[in-house]
């Protein structure tokens, strides 16, 4: 090789390298200006670079924003209306949510804790719409039933520990009329109040059925010595309740209900063996599924064939999946509580919010008591193969620490919704793949 050829070769290499560097810089800068999250395709090309998601917009909440306006506007500046993969649906505290599809589009409906108002948001444009006027305030828990046509509101009486349970009929409210120029409200102040009815007072725990047509709930009767737990089913369509279960033990937590079978878990504490029972409403038979497991908490799959459960250990919890068909159990290295998981429709896999670490404490007690809070990452777990896959790490997208509860999948499983236990804000993660134009 002559000197001339050598110079030409080195020159070409240098030009190509400079071109890559320039392109990499421009992409990074454009992303930073537009406020969207993306991955630099050149970052891995050079040994000194590292591929990472570019965080340019903090979705951190501010306390002073109002309902509706509280939703983070994360439209990209001149970027064609793209949204981050992780979105704040409501910065205001949310008591419960429900996702559905209308005209092929994914929506989420939620109850604001402070006002009890029902809001609707189309995930495509991320604009909230208030569907109802305030009827009940200071709502602690909300569960949607009857395909979103009814919602169970649970709240405390003033200066009391007594829980009131109210069924709000949403079947007559108008949905999907969000005007182009009004991003916050559709219900007028003169709109009639939705109908509703009170359920029995002192309902301790509730569970909406898989088909959302029924509600299993538990009350107590008698004084402590002669106490009985009564399980009842409320039919959202017939608007009637009937008692179906009677037990001298009363510390049950319903974790599953399909209209025929209720899965009842004994309330958990780290050093107390827990049990999981299946109650057949037709036969009245109560059968143990698993038990003698310290701090047992559980979440059955939609078809009630697999059960993800946790067991308390000295350092936190261990996660397992029990298969009712063959009585086999799979152990997972991920440490989390089933309350932080949601099964996919295929009943073969589930998403779980997995704490990046367990602060010192006794679990699940410390988490239930609010002494410990987590910072979670989302994982997908395949219950058949045992494979675990990291889905996303919120720390790369927001400064906010997310202690995820109430995980809910949209019907087409393109969005994963969750409530941040730290402030009850509602979030959505776009599972369909990042941001859209």
């Amino acid at each position: 090789m002559t000197k001339k050829q050598l110079y030409i070769t080195v020159g070409i290499i240098a030009v190509v390298a400079l071109g890559f560097l320039l392109a990499s810089y421009l992409i990074s800068r454009r992303a930073a200006e537009s406020g969207v999250e993306t991955t630099n395709p050149f970052a891995n090309f050079f040994p000194f670079g590292k591929s990472e998601k570019i965080k340019t917009t903090d979705l951190g909440n501010t306390d002073n924003e109002t309902a509706g306006e509280g939703t983070e506007n994360i439209n990209t500046e001149g970027g064609g209306g793209g949204f981050l993969v992780l979105r704040t649906v409501s910065q205001k505290p949310v008591a419960g949510l429900f996702s559905y599809i209308r005209s092929g589009k994914t929506y989420v409906e939620y109850i604001e804790k402070e006002t009890g108002n029902v809001y609707e948001m189309k995930m495509e444009d991320m604009r909230p719409s208030r569907l109802s006027n305030s009827l009940i305030t200071r709502v602690s828990e909300a569960y949607f039933g009857n395909d979103g046509g009814m919602v169970v509101l649970r709240y405390l009486k003033p200066k009391s520990d007594a829980i009131t349970t109210f069924i709000l009929d949403l079947s007559k409210i108008t949905r999907g009329t969000l005007p182009e120029d009004n991003a916050t409200t559709t219900a007028s102040d003169n709109s009639p109040l939705p109908n509703g009815k009170f359920l029995a007072s002192g309902i301790r725990d509730v569970k909406v059925s898989e088909d959302t047509k029924g509600l299993f709930y538990l009350t107590r009767t008698g004084d402590f010595t002669d106490r009985l737990s009564v399980g009842s089913v409320f039919d959202f369509q017939k608007n009637t309740s009937s008692d179906v279960f009677l037990s001298p033990f009363s510390e049950w937590l319903p974790v599953y209900f399909d209209g025929h079978t209720a899965i009842l878990q004994t309330k958990a504490s780290r050093n107390v063996p827990g049990f999981l029972y299946s109650f057949n409403i037709k036969t009245g038979d109560l059968q143990k599924i698993i038990g003698d497991i310290s701090g047992l908490t559980a979440l059955p799959s939609h078809d009630n064939q697999k059960i993800v459960y946790s067991e308390s250990t000295r350092n936190g919890v261990t996660l397992h999946i029990y298969d009712r068909k063959d009585s086999s159990t799979k152990d997972f290295f991920l440490q989390t509580l089933p309350e932080k998981c949601v099964w996919k429709k295929d009943n073969a896999s589930l998403y779980c919010a997995v704490p990046s670490s367990f602060p010192s404490g006794e679990y699940p007690d410390s988490w239930y008591q609010g002494i410990s809070s987590f910072s979670d990452n989302i994982w997908e777990i395949n219950a058949i193969t045992g494979k675990t896959t990291s889905v996303f790490v919120p720390g790369s997208l927001t400064m906010k620490l997310l202690d995820m509860t109430n995980l809910t999948l949209s019907p087409s499983e393109d969005f994963l919704f969750f409530i941040n236990k730290r402030d009850s804000s509602l979030w959505a993660f776009d599972l369909a793949g990042g941001w859209e134009e």
Partner: protein
């Protein structure tokens, strides 16, 4: 015939010969053969000790004359011993006659082959529902004794024991209310007995309850499936035993459970005017508040609930050492106004005492910080 001279040798003598064999090997070639013979015999002894125990019959079995074995020569044990319904059970086979580690073992459930292989002496299976009979069979295919079979019929009956304490936890709490010293605990026996293919009603079972070593005759009896008692001292375990039996005594299961006694404790939560009490997040050690006033709600975890309801527990709030007047109708809450200017902090303390029981007391301190300058 070759082995017959050695059949009556005692073991200690064989061992001695074997140990000295190495030294013979070095000096005498003829002794080498003897040594090999000894080694071979010892090897056989290890493999077939029964040949020497049973004398000639054992030797004959080695020569291919299979013996008819009875299943009394093997034993089959279960863990747990009395498995309940839908329970994982491990069966273990052992034999003083055959070496189960080198024998082909086949396991059957209700006549269906489930596991086989050399040395498969453990087998785990799951019982069915109550009343679903399982016939567990194990077959050992031995060279020495031919096929040995053992069978066990398992009829799952169960007795689960659950308990609950009459202590306070906040509304919507998903965890268990734990017993504190001198609180009431209710233990519930949940038998699932099947007799003559019928599930026996739990109220038709006879229960005998014991706390520690002492039987409680008043709490025991026909249909007495719940037992209420007062706990002992903090950190100790109360041991409760219950025996549940059918009236004719055909089924009887006893269970013993320890119930630990915990310390009561106080946790502070913020009661937000619009949002209600934020039970999701306890206020721990230091809390900075930004609003013009802060309402703290105290949750006295694991205090006796009936005493709290009957107002026999006192709540004493102190701020920087001074006792505060609180709303007698709502003594678990205290509202603190923020000074209009400046910054500072308060030391807030709450003492909760249950007058009825000396050991049911708890204190909680928290530092409340306000800062008007950075707002």
């Amino acid at each position: 015939m070759f082995f017959r001279p050695f059949a009556y040798l005692n073991v200690s003598r064989l061992v001695d010969n074997f140990l000295f064999c190495g030294s013979f090997l070095r000096y005498n070639v003829d002794m080498k053969k003897i040594c090999f013979s000894f080694v071979f015999v010892v090897f056989l002894l290890l493999l077939y000790p029964s040949a020497f125990i049973f004398g000639q019959s054992g030797i004959e079995s080695l020569l291919g004359k299979s013996l008819q074995s009875s299943n009394s020569t093997i034993s089959l044990s279960l863990s747990p011993t009395n498995p309940g319904p839908n329970a994982d059970v491990t069966a273990k086979v052992s034999s003083f006659q055959a070496n189960v580690d080198t024998t082909n073992i086949i396991w059957y459930i209700n006549g269906q082959k489930k596991l086989s292989g050399v040395g498969k002496k453990n087998f785990t299976f799951r019982t069915g529902d109550v009343g679903d009979t399982i016939t567990l069979s194990v077959v050992l295919e031995t060279e020495a004794y031919g096929t040995i079979k053992k069978e066990l019929v398992i009829l799952p009956n169960s007795l689960e024991v659950l308990w609950e304490a009459d202590t306070y936890v906040p509304p919507f709490y998903k965890g268990k209310a734990l017993p504190s010293s001198q609180s009431s605990v209710r233990v519930i026996a949940m038998p699932r007995f099947v007799d003559q293919n019928a599930l026996i009603d739990a109220n038709s079972v006879v229960y005998v309850w014991k706390k520690g070593y002492f039987k409680d005759p008043d709490g025991s009896g026909f249909g007495r499936n719940a037992f209420v008692y007062k706990t002992g001292y903090t950190f100790n375990d109360d041991e409760i035993t219950v025996s549940a039996s059918t009236q004719n005594g055909s089924i009887s299961i006893t269970k013993k459970i320890p119930i630990h006694v915990y310390e009561p404790k106080i946790l502070f939560f913020e009661n937000k005017p619009l949002e209600s009490i934020r039970y999701e997040n306890a206020l721990v050690n230091v809390f900075t508040y930004a609003e013009s006033e802060l309402t703290l709600h105290a949750a006295p975890f694991f205090f006796s609930l009936s005493d709290l309801n009957n107002n026999t527990a006192s709540f004493v709030w102190k701020i920087d050492g001074k006792t505060l007047e609180t709303d007698p109708e709502n003594k678990a809450e205290f509202t603190l106004r923020k000074p209009e200017k400046g910054s500072g902090k308060y030391q807030l303390k709450l003492d909760v005492t249950n007058f009825g029981y000396d050991l049911q007391t708890a204190s909680k301190n928290i530092t409340l910080v306000y800062d008007n300058q950075n707002q």
